[in-house]
């Protein structure tokens, strides 16, 4: 707790204050990124999309032992996501399924966890909005407006003191809401007990099917895949492979980003594709498009408009020898 407080204090001293209106939007974005990574907090928030909403409780503790988090969906069928450092587990009782993702540590992929660069201003205009109270906390608004139709816009409200993101709304080109996260109640700081981050569903998961994603291995050298045409504003930031535990094949995971939004390109055996025809679906702000390329299935997903994921998918091809 002391460490977290020192870090938060250092951030306040070294960075422009929200309250005095100083600094540009990029610096405040980095304040928010730092807060998300270093602060402990607990609260209740509402996730909205497609005219519906779900309420969840979240607890996050950062201390000498690392990071522990737990999210519990309070509406509808019970669902839970638990993270202990580099391992994330999703408990899905309705499907009798546990999905485990072991992510690469931050040391292995430094580019993914670096500051949000000022380069995002090539693709978004970043401006400071009005102050507002969110969940009883004084917040400052930051607005990211896309410069083209390949990406969404963002309205972000963060705690003026700690920088913790309190409310985030993703909007399309007509400024209509695509999805929104908003705390209704939150306490910043490690007031939660360690036991609050322990899974409540793990005890009943005996006999459930466990699906596990191995730690991704960074892929070095030239990729066998490339984009026939680059998608403006998106640069490649990583490429890794993961072995599938059931059949021993591998999934290649290529990530592009414009600094805020990310697009993941998954390439795997075509047997995993549903059909020869391209297919698509939306999940909140995430659009997903899948097509077959030879013996492979290319599945593209990201928090960008459907036209963008489709453009990535259509451009993917095997590099000719």
């Amino acid at each position: 707790m002391i460490r977290a407080a020192l870090l938060a204090t250092a951030a306040l001293v070294c960075s422009p204050s929200w309250a005095d209106g100083g600094g540009d939007g990029s610096e405040w974005l980095n304040r928010m990124m730092t807060a998300a990574q270093q602060l402990s907090y607990s609260g209740t928030f509402v996730y909205q999309s497609g005219g519906q909403s779900e309420t969840s409780r979240v607890v996050r503790i950062v201390d000498e032992q690392g990071e522990r988090e737990r999210l519990e969906v309070l509406d509808g069928s019970p669902r839970e996501v638990v993270r202990i450092n580099d391992e994330v587990r999703c408990y899905l009782p309705a499907d009798r399924r546990v999905v485990i993702e072991r992510r690469a540590s931050r040391r292995a992929f430094p580019a993914l966890f670096s500051r949000i660069s000022k380069g995002i201003q090539d693709h978004y205009t970043v401006r400071v909005g009005e102050g507002e109270r969110i969940a009883g906390i004084e917040a400052r608004q930051l607005v990211l407006e896309p410069r083209d139709s390949l990406r969404y816009g963002y309205q972000l409200w963060a705690d003026a003191e700690s920088g913790l993101l309190l409310k985030a709304r993703t909007v399309d080109e007509k400024n209509q809401m695509v999805e929104q996260f908003a705390f209704t109640q939150v306490v910043v700081g490690s007031s939660a007990e360690t036991g609050d981050t322990v899974s409540k569903l793990q005890g009943q998961s005996s006999g459930w099917r466990v699906e596990s994603l191995d730690v991704p291995q960074e892929s070095r050298g030239e990729s066998p895949w490339r984009l026939r045409q680059p998608v403006p504003g998106f640069g490649k930031i990583s490429e890794s492979v993961r072995r599938l535990q059931d059949d021993g094949g591998e999934i290649r995971h290529i990530v592009f980003s414009d600094g805020i939004a990310a697009v993941s390109l998954f390439v795997g055996p075509a047997s995993r594709a549903s059909a020869a025809k391209p297919s698509a679906v939306r999940q909140g702000a995430i659009n997903i498009y899948s097509r077959r390329v030879g013996a492979s299935a290319v599945t593209v997903l990201g928090e960008v408009p459907m036209v963008t994921v489709r453009r990535f998918a259509e451009a993917m091809e095997l590099r000719q020898p």
Binding site: L71, S149, I260, A262, R282, V307, R310
Partner: protein, 173 residues
């Protein structure tokens, strides 16, 4: 030539023949006007809603920005005749929204007609995951590398397991 236009509208051409008709339309503006009239007649006969003239300009601007990869390519042998007809409409940008209506593009409720990148294009089917586990795998792997996901912190995992906000064909229930 008008008979050829009619056949093109009905999707009766193979790709190579359809391209020849399109090339002719490029050279003869009058044919474009006739194409537009045929599409309008088709829309009226099918009782499809016609949008205001104001939308047409925005639609044409969006079509003009669409990359060439969205149009049928000879290397992709999976495309159907109906998708060639769609590609022909995109090429004749001057006809605007009426063309979309005549091709039976699905309207997104309360919003404009679907654009070329949307899931409701005739040549794209709804994606259905094997089960919730597979969907969660993809979303989890992506969540860990997304800057906006990291910015929002752990709250964004609510989307990974959400039963709301799914588009057509979503595995969520």
């Amino acid at each position: 030539m008008k008979e050829l236009l009619s056949a093109l509208m009905d999707g009766e051409f193979e790709k190579a023949a359809a391209q020849k008709v399109l090339d002719a339309m490029d050279a003869l503006p009058d044919l474009q006007r006739v194409w537009g009239i045929y599409q309008l007649i088709g829309a009226v006969l099918r009782g499809e809603p016609l949008l205001s003239a104001g939308f047409g300009e925005r639609c044409r601007e969006k079509l003009a920005r669409e990359p060439a990869v969205m149009i049928d390519r000879p290397s992709d042998g999976v495309r159907s005749q109906s998708s060639v007809t769609w590609a022909a409409a995109a090429a004749v940008a001057g006809v605007g929204v009426v063309v979309w209506a005549a091709l039976g593009m699905q309207a997104d409720h309360g919003r404009d007609f679907a654009m070329p990148g949307a899931a409701s294009s005739r040549d794209v089917q709804p994606l259905v995951f094997r089960d919730e586990g597979e969907r969660a795998e993809y979303l989890l792997a992506h969540q860990g590398v997304s800057p906006s996901g990291m910015l929002a912190g752990f709250s964004h995992y609510a989307r990974t397991v959400a039963r709301i906000g799914g588009g057509e064909g979503a595995a969520g229930r």
